[in-house]
């Protein structure tokens, strides 16, 4: 089980900020593929991966990052702080 978090327009498009996902995906990319297959709103949110960033256990990561032992994955658009 992995906590999956969504922020900004990803959160709005999917319609929730957080969910627990029962997955055997080996990488972030595989998790994305599973989520996209679920429903249109997920497919819409993940349509353009290049417009998204991912954090694994609260550290920025690549989409090919492994998920073994990971507790938390977050998806969001490029950051706009400051």
């Amino acid at each position: 089980m992995i906590d999956v978090l969504y922020f900004a327009w990803v959160r709005e498009r999917i319609g929730l900020p957080k969910e627990r996902v029962d997955t055997s995906a080996a990488t972030v990319a595989e998790l994305v593929a599973e989520l996209k297959a679920r429903e249109d709103r997920y497919a819409a949110a993940f349509a353009d991966i290049s417009a998204l960033r991912v954090a694994v256990d609260q550290e920025l990561a690549d989409f090919d990052a492994p998920l073994a032992g990971v507790r938390e994955v977050a998806f969001f658009p490029p950051m706009t702080g400051g």
């Binding site: 978090l5 922020f7 900004a8 327009w9 959160r11 954090a55 609260q58 550290e59 920025l60 977050a74 969001f76 658009p77 490029p78 950051m79 706009t80 702080g81 400051g82």
Partner: protein
């Protein structure tokens, strides 16, 4: 080295004064304040963040600045939540023996914080609402630190 992430407003002037007060070890203090700018019709801003990761990311950026430059101290304060034009969103402050280090570290903190700390701005204006898009210049600005 201090990092604060908070919804409450903070007093930029008071923070600058306290940061610089009584330093005998640092000849140079640089501060930056980010202010909600009204370029035409912005009513308010909502700043979303990623609790937990935000603090980690800011601390990591501040640690890296402390490692790269001869800093005596550094401070980052970043707000989240609703804000209106004129509000102070965030600030950084650096103290170093010489000004080149204080300036470089402050610019480094800002460049990284802009593109690597998990904050997202949503604007509410006359034309409706929109998520602020990341600027290519902000991503490009990171390039200048890779050789240092």
């Amino acid at each position: 080295m201090r990092v604060r992430v908070q919804a409450e407003p903070f007093d930029y002037g008071a923070e600058c004064g306290a940061f610089a007060a009584g330093r005998r070890d640092a000849g140079a203090v640089v501060t930056f304040a980010g202010i909600v700018r009204d370029d035409g019709g912005l009513a308010r801003l909502e700043l979303e963040h990623y609790p937990g990761m935000t603090e980690r990311a800011l601390r990591k950026i501040a640690d890296e600045a402390t490692r790269r430059w001869a800093l005596r101290d550094c401070l980052v304060i970043h707000r989240y939540g609703p804000m209106v034009p004129g509000d102070t969103i965030m600030m950084v402050a650096t103290a170093a023996p010489h000004r080149a280090d204080a300036f470089a570290a402050a610019e480094f903190l800002m460049d990284y914080l802009k593109s690597r700390a998990p904050f997202w701005k949503k604007e509410f204006g006359a034309d409706g609402t929109s998520w602020v898009a990341a600027r290519d210049e902000d991503e490009a600005a990171l390039g200048r630190w890779s050789g240092a």
